[in-house]
Subunit: 488 residues, 2 copies
């Protein structure tokens, strides 16, 4: 099977599509730009959802559900918001079909035109803040810490499975607060939750930082982002958390009575991560043999392959191993197929990214051992059957840590400090990765750099150090370095 | 607060709306027919989802995700399907907005008209079977046992929160099989899962049966249903499971190679339950004081109210109780509000349907007891603090069982065997409930009965006994009784 995967060195973009297809994660659909998330891909998203949902609830958030549709007029209430991105979207204009009077099939009933068009939500700030107006009267109603798991639609021209699709699945948090400070803290808390999820669960190291004014969410006063580095040296924006100031409260007239009995506009945040994370995780760890999954999010963590094929004796031992591994909280499967050969199965599980493969043969039984193969390093060893659960639990942790460390090392190696434009161009084209360079803080310089090189400022890192220097494009004064990269 | 609830006896329909509003379950939205599911309502749906998802996975199903949009032409490929219900739906005709050239706001960009209109899925058989064509080549690819959690849209004229909304949340299973028998068994397995969920978790007794040809899902060869009885004597269709024969396989040309190496069309089922279940659960158990929730699905099972208000000593004991209850897997909350009075809080938790309330006062501490109030019976008793976790665990089970038994008793009392049309009309109008009556098996009689009385055949019960009799409308031969009722 692996032969069918294009090597990364040859064509990274095709390699990614091959992995998605061969690991059975997603499929194209009959609808332009919309993908089908297949069971193997959806199971990864389910694991991500479960963990993120827990982290949101542990930080005091609750879930709710708001309508899929947004009245068209809502989108233009917050001026920056509509300018920023609400244009390419799915517009519902009618609410009925009828039998085609002139032939087979159905046509849109011209009588069933909506008075006001409805937009399939590209994000829900507008419909939610329109609702919050009824929910918030006084400081006693605050904070509102609400999250929604939903599908959204943005009519993208060029799409790639998981990374950019017309419809995608995500969560969007929308919180309301009685003070600027509290809203800013909320945006920072979620920024931290996202970074922790990326590193601890996805094993994907991220740089935490703020977006420049130019790259901010449309309608936000501050956008916090986590930025990851893919194996082709391009950056992936993996999760953003926005401090929205009072912009949406003003646009939708959401006021509250303060403790001092005065009227004020409510302070807001919004934040989201999406199925894009699945794409990011694939690109961070996988190799030319297929998908590599961090154990904490792998739907199947361990597969047991009886060798050369399943029989009563081998399956009996396998079932005991399953029970022991499950008692350690491990997600394990036994391959009971009798037709395929072990070599074929090995390649298949490699392709699908199962972190650990246990090969169970007759000789192993005699020796009371089992062959353990790691997906990440592709190394094998014999382990004693005794106390296998604890050993595998430890091994899965080692794999999780190794994947994170490997990705961190890759990122270190591909992060370059640069002080002049020629070197910048050379590094960007030949080495790729993050470039740490001075910037004068103006949108003018930022856009000029993008025009000259296609690189954008991924973030102003939270750990930016004060350092004086010169902007690479304008030569003007800079007070610190920011991270540039080509980006997905 | 309870004063604000319209009594059931006065206006059942308004009572339901009052409960939904006062228990903070849902809200109207700015979009016609679409509701906002508030955190308290969504938490119930989350608990339902978690349990159903587990039951689906335990019976071998996996989750996936298919596009929100369906190309218009797909809907007319299965003739019965489009005739049956695909007409009232949301139609996407454009994919871009633009600044209004003649004033403020945005307008639909006339240049961005789609070549083929897209329908927001009212159900996904068509897009899924179009996809299955690529996934199924041989019997080795079967069965496909796939479920999807999704939102769907049906442009309903008259809507009611949870019971009937333009957009609703649901799960839809779509399975593909290599034989008729296996597909029929699958439909029956899910029918059983739904019934078990309704009775064991929602404490909502259901009649299991088959729909008549006239009431079947559009495109199905057999529809299994679970029918519940609401307190106003009307029936609620709570979950359906369809044997689809080869209809969708033929419409979308999904063939497979059999073990005997012949080509045949694939056999199908589909099945779904929705947020309607939340409405059914509300209507089954609640009373004039507010929501009543079965403990197994209640987001908060026990609330501890310090009396007369929280102080250090009471909170210290409360925290210990919380820890003990949590160790028994109980979802418990302490009310730490210092401003509201106990009486106000009691009414509030009654309104919100918390199954058990623990009143913790100074005198209780001295006596090592606690006051325990049940929401279902509104009775109170003093229990020793010792071993409280086990006592409350038992009490929650008692409440769960009591709610089911109460609903069963109500249903028995409201199920009437009737043998002539006049009595049928009289019972239907004055007593309501299920009417068990003979039917000749024809759609003609069924429609005539509906015209005469508004009652429909809810189902042909699975436990129908062979019994000869006369159809109440036509006087023709009948071989057994079916269940009639007015329905939601």
């Amino acid at each position: 099977m692996a032969k069918e995967i294009t090597p990364r060195s040859e064509n990274y973009s095709q390699w990614y599509l091959d992995i998605v297809k061969k690991a059975d994660l997603a499929d194209n659909s009959a609808v332009r730009g919309c993908m089908v998330i297949k069971p193997s891909g959806y199971a990864i998203w389910e694991n991500m959802k479960a963990q993120l949902d827990k982290m949101f609830k542990d930080t005091g958030h609750v879930n709710a559900y708001f309508p899929l549709f947004i009245p068209k007029s809502f989108l233009s209430k917050e001026a920056d918001h509509v300018e920023g991105f609400a244009k390419e979207c799915a517009v519902v204009t009618h609410h009925r079909l009828m039998n085609n009077p002139n032939g087979p099939g159905v046509v849109v009933d011209p009588e069933a035109k909506l008075e006001e068009e409805l937009i399939v939500r590209p994000t829900s700030e507008t419909i939610i803040w329109n609702t919050y107006r009824d929910w918030i009267q006084s400081y006693r109603d605050l904070p509102l810490l609400i999250n929604q798991w939903a599908n959204v639609v943005r009519w993208e021209l060029r799409t790639r499975p998981f990374l950019r699709t017309a419809e995608f699945l995500w969560q969007e948090g929308h919180t309301a607060h009685a003070s600027k400070k509290e809203a800013e803290e909320e945006a920072a808390i979620i920024h931290e939750v996202y970074a922790r999820f990326a590193e601890d669960y996805m094993a994907m190291p991220v740089v935490k930082g703020r977006k420049t004014a130019n790259e901010r969410f449309a309608g936000a006063e501050e956008t916090y982002t986590i930025e990851a580095l893919m194996q082709d040296g391009k950056a992936l924006q993996a999760g953003t958390s926005h401090f929205l100031g009072q912009n949406f409260a003003k646009a939708f007239d959401v006021k509250y009575l303060t403790e001092a009995n005065k009227e004020d506009f409510v302070w807001a945040t919004s934040w989201g991560v999406s199925t894009r994370l699945v794409g990011g995780m694939i690109m961070t760890h996988s190799d030319d043999e297929g998908l590599v999954l961090p154990p904490r999010l792998a739907p199947i963590q361990v597969v047991i392959v009886p060798i050369p094929k399943p029989n009563g004796e081998l399956l009996e031992v396998a079932d005991k191993i399953v029970a022991e591994l499950q008692s350690h909280g491990i997600r394990v499967k036994v391959d009971k197929d009798k037709k395929k050969r072990p070599g074929f199965k090995f390649a298949e599980y490699e392709m699908r990214g199962v972190p650990v493969r246990l090969g169970l043969g007759k000789r192993d039984l005699e020796n009371n051992t089992i062959e353990v193969a790691r997906r990440d390093t592709k190394t094998k060893e014999q382990l004693p059957l005794e106390n296998l659960g604890a050993q595998i639990e430890k091994l899965l942790e080692d794999i999780q840590n190794n994947l994170l460390q490997r990705a961190k090392d890759f990122r270190s190696e591909r992060t370059t400090v640069v002080d002049d434009l020629d070197t910048f161009k050379e590094i960007l084209e030949n080495k790729g990765g993050f470039i740490s360079a001075h910037w004068d803080g103006t949108t003018e310089s930022e856009l000029k750099m993008k025009e000259l090189t296609t690189a954008t400022i991924r973030c102003i890192p939270n750990d930016q150090e004060a350092e004086s220097g010169k902007d690479l494009v304008t030569g003007k004064e800079s007070k610190g370095r920011v991270l540039f990269a080509k980006a997905y």
